[in-house]
Each structure stands twice: as structure tokens, then as C-alpha cells.
Symmetry: C2
Subunit: 111 residues, 2 copies
Amino acid sequence: MKKVSYSCGLDAAMDVVGGKWKALILWHLHAEPLRFGELRRRVGGISEKMLTQQVRELERNGVLHREVFEQVPPKVIYSLTEFGQTLNAALEPLGEWGHRHMETIEAMPRD
Amino acid sequence: MKKVSYSCGLDAAMDVVGGKWKALILWHLHAEPLRFGELRRRVGGISEKMLTQQVRELERNGVLHREVFEQVPPKVIYSLTEFGQTLNAALEPLGEWGHRHMETIEAMPRD
DNA sequence: ACAAGTACCCACTATTTTGTAAGTATGAAG
DNA sequence: CTTCATACTTACAAAATAGTGGGTACTTGT
């Protein structure tokens, strides 16, 4: 979180779920809780450092829950909180849109 | 646009509307076409450079339309394309969510 | 004895994104 | 004749974001 006040709801929401990975992480947790490694494999392309970092922020923001099992080898399970579920639901139309226009988006000029 | 293929719709959508300003710009254009200066005032806090840059990308991506009037002083009007309108519609639940949880978001730990 | 697997942390570097300040053209107003 | 306004552009600086390679602790399997 960077700002303290927002010009509108979208501004605020983007501050929570913006960035390269957060939305994706939520997305992949929508069906079931996952362990760190499994989450990493599903998100794809994310480094360990980034995943820990993003997941910790999401935890601090009350979007997801982190359950640590005191074992060796370590085991940590991530799941959406209720708050996180409402956020994920709000993200769904955007995901739908992206899905529907995937080809158009892939064909967009990149530089 | 950075990627050429996406793991899911949300991934793709975030690539179009991610970043600090783009979603906000779309949002403020939802009701009516606006001139550069007016758009800038409404978005608030954005520099001229950033606005031009973001708006040009959105134009290249077919999200908004840019109409130049060959006058002095210059006049340029921005409006959503139909595509942009579908995107804005998909963004609405997220904006709603942000609006509903504004206080929670503002109270989130920032560092 | 030794490598493999887990979920990290740390220091460091690279890349990307964002911001700041200045300059441009032209005409109208004072 | 100087200033103001518009919608930019350019060069440069700063800040945010991302990646790399190393290390850790302990257990299980070879």
C-alpha cells in the first residue's frame, strides 16, 4: 500500500491487487488452499523471493491466510480469507474479460 | 504489453490495465469524452508526461480514441472505444469492491 | 556419508516504472 | 512586446519492482 487516500474505489482496489503477481496469486488460490511450492508451480514464472514477498503483503492486508506447520521439512499453506474471497469475486469479471479478449490482447503491439 | 502469452484471463487483463494510472484514466472517461487538460485535472496527481504516455498506449491497444483538432492552442479529445467500454464494465465490480472496503484499505499497513 | 527436498532469508544487481524540469509551436490578450 | 494557454517532447534523475545466487535447518532416502 502506498497511498493513504484514494480518488475512487478502483484506485484503492488497484493498490491492493496491483503489480505483476498479486492478482494471479489470488486467482490460483480461488479453488483450494495450496502449499508454497505448489502455488509457485501454478503461478508459473515467479521466483521464490517474489512469491514470499507478495504473499506476505497479501497476508498483512488480510487477503490471505498463512498457516505454518512446525515441521521439517517446512510446510506452509496459503488460503484466501473471506475478505480475499470477496476480492477474488470482484476480480472475476476482469478475468472473464481477459479470457474473452485474449487473442486481441496477445495481438497488441508490444515494445 | 509485455507478455506474448498469458496463464489466464486475469493475467492478460492486468497487462492491459495494470500500472499506476491506466485503470484510473479509463474510469474517468467512463461518463464523457474529455480533453487532455481536463482529464489530467480529474485523474489528479499525474504528470503531463505520464498522462500522454499512458493515454498513447491505451490508444495503441484500442482501448481509447484520440481525436486531434488541428488548432492553436491544441485541442485533443479522448474517449473510450467500444472495446474500452467493455473493459471499463469489467472493471466496475473491482471499483465497487474498492469503494465498499475503502476504510479497510486505507487502514492497511503501509511501508 | 551424501544428496534431495522444503520454505524461506539476505545481499546484491538489473530492469522497469515513474517523476521533474525544461523546451516547443502558435495565436490571442494585455 | 511580453505573457498565457494548450498538448505535448526530451533529457535526466529517482524510486519501485524484479531477479540471481548464496545460505539455513532438519529429515528422509540412497
